[in-house]
Subunit: 398 residues, 2 copies
């Protein structure tokens, strides 16, 4: 059996960032940039006013005399006059400074009368003027490959004339739930049946980490039907995730099929609870994850193994800044030899985080996940952790 | 002039949560639930096996004798036999327990030979059996209105047979950038022109807080053209956001139009920097925000005023758990009488967060936002804050 970290290491050794492609700027929020963003012109492209007011010769404002208004410069226009002595021009924020002017005075500091204007305070040379290139010089690199795009980055790229950006795309993750007992949530339950819930939770987990989920199934526990479903799923997937059918039951075909479709990497037992069985394989470059069928095991193994793989595929660092520590509010006993992932609520205090288990931890009891803020990592070698013990926690809803 | 908190209070007094509507379960991640989710049947719906193994009469396993295999129960089926003395049946995880059996033994603890099975360890009565209703009883409420849906919630709702949920929808936010100097990022710059960047940053900000943005414009600074554009925008919007045209310039028509379309609430100056001018109005129930045109001012006023309004409209508590404190790493001087929002980088240390300004804070310098993790709130009444001063910070990328 592999430890949790050995299993994760093996998985990550087989995944690579997806091929970058061009995206319309509007669609790039949260994606990882795969190009440089460079100022191709000076920014601002021309001297312009930082205020609504008047373009002036600053020395004349200092005298406090009336100036003649010889024009008005709206934003987006090119002034076709030059200020001479004793002259001023109305100007809008962002509008191009006219030749002859060396400063702008604010409208709030002015008095205007029939074609003339006077000011109530002085203006320094250069005041309220944004100089060409003061923000960025041509050739300056402002964003680099590997950066995860945030709203201000999109604004900056737009201001530099980038209608599209090369980014690492979202991973398309196909989710196939398996099990002859499963019916979709909108259908009545027959005897012996339960509803497919894992594919909905997994779909949301994929979405929460920025992937693009496609939900298929449920597929019955029939080897041929399942093989056909997985082959179809592989046609459109960049990652394939199945739930159930990976354990030791007579009708557990998923692990064999993952081995068949994915070569020699095939099946592991992992020293963890919940979630011991996990199948992993590669169909060409497509990672395939066979997650266990218990609802909690399925969600926990997604967080521990699939999510980091998706993060790498989307150009991010796995688990980036997710790890925190918390102190247990109560004693816990567990099985030695298995890393246990305790569903817990977190409470923030002046001296750090406190973690409290969310009731019964059975791997079929989804309520323990519904109520959880985080998974507390209880180390393999321990059997008993006292109240106050400090443990690592993985927040589920960062 | 209003203080920042007075302005926010006025805005929030005019917005209400949107009308809930039914959403397909797959589309509800991150939405606020507007109904109860109730277990309508017992959960699990029948006694079933927690393991892949054998349904047994536990007392007989204790004797260590060979048992006759009388059947196999795959998941999703109904066993049509009853276990008699000396009998066992193969069973899959999740499959219905057959009458006569009172426990399940794990396949890992068994030895199987030609129609018979023997066990290497004892089984307690009830072991590895999930009892009907042990997770949930019919009528039990598991999720309540007001809860923001997370992946496990979707799994739970699916397991209880909810193909759809009534939720408060995402707010549709129409964004109109205004300014005769603006060209879209894909077009060449003429003299006096700059590129429209605010609408891209605002669109991403709307998306980042869970709204549904629609980007229009840029619209030229012509009163009639602008009125037509705003009227069109209002036809499809639940919130209208404009950028620029709200200040004191000759061509600033947005605030007049917001007043015209939105009744008496119309124009405020707010004691803050960046972002002093802000127009707000209501067209029927549609909040209209006229944000200032400087790129930093536009983004900062969005965070401070539009985002909380969107959060309320989407059923959330504004600013939920966003406020933190940090210590300044350097001295700052500012204008008294204005709350200043300093773009800063945050650094986490053993003794809390440290905040450092991101260089030149000019409201036209988008790089100060690009490099920022947070806005540090520098109080209205202060003129000088020493290094080490503790300030409130609003993380920009929670």
């Amino acid at each position: 059996m592999l430890s949790v970290s050995q299993a994760l290491e093996r998985i990550l050794s087989h995944v690579r960032p997806l091929e970058p492609r061009s995206h319309p700027l509007s669609q790039t929020l949260g994606l990882v940039l795969a190009q440089e963003v460079v100022a191709r012109e000076a920014h601002p492209p021309f001297d312009n006013s930082a205020v609504d007011g008047f373009a002036v010769r600053s020395a004349e404002v200092a005298e406090g005399t009336w100036l003649d208004l010889v024009g008005s410069i709206p934003a987006g226009s090119v002034p076709e006059f030059e200020l001479g002595p004793g002259q001023a021009a109305a100007i809008m924020t962002g509008a191009m400074l006219c030749p002859g002017a060396d400063a702008c005075a604010m409208v709030e500091d002015s008095e205007r009368q029939a074609g003339r204007v006077r000011f109530t305070r002085r203006v320094r040379p250069g005041e309220n003027v944004r100089r060409q290139g003061e923000h960025l010089q041509p050739g300056q690199v402002v964003l680099r490959p590997g950066h995860r795009l945030r709203p201000a980055d999109l604004g900056l790229a737009a201001s530099l004339g980038y209608p599209e950006l090369a980014c690492i795309p979202r991973a398309r993750v196909t989710i196939v739930s398996t099990g002859s007992e499963l019916v979709p949530p909108g259908q009545p339950l027959g005897p012996g049946q339960i509803r497919d819930s894992n594919s909905y939770a997994l779909e949301a987990q994929v979405r929460a980490c920025g992937g693009e989920p496609v939900r298929l199934g449920p597929v019955v526990d029939d080897r041929d039907a399942l093989e056909q479903a997985l082959r179809q799923a592989l046609e459109q997937a960049e990652v394939l995730v199945t739930s159930a059918g990976v354990s030791v039951g007579e009708h557990d075909h998923v692990r064999d099929l993952i081995a068949k479709l994915g070569g020699e990497l095939s099946f592991w037992q992992i020293k963890m609870r919940p979630g011991k069985p996990l199948a992993f394989g590669l169909a060409g470059s497509i990672p395939m994850f066979g997650l266990p069928g218990n609802p909690v095991s399925s969600m926990v193994t997604f967080e521990l193994f699939v999510r980091p793989a998706l993060e790498v595929m989307m150009g991010r660092f796995p688990g980036e800044s997710r790890k925190q520590t918390a102190r247990l509010t109560h004693e816990i006993t567990k099985k030695t030899g298995l890393t246990t992932f305790l569903r817990c609520r977190l409470e923030s205090t002046g001296t750090g985080l406190l973690a409290t288990a969310t009731g019964d931890q059975g791997s079929h009891l989804l309520r323990s996940m519904v109520e959880a803020d985080a998974l507390a990592v209880l180390p393999e070698e321990l059997e008993r952790l006292e109240a106050g013990h400090e443990v690592e926690v993985l927040p589920l809803h960062p």
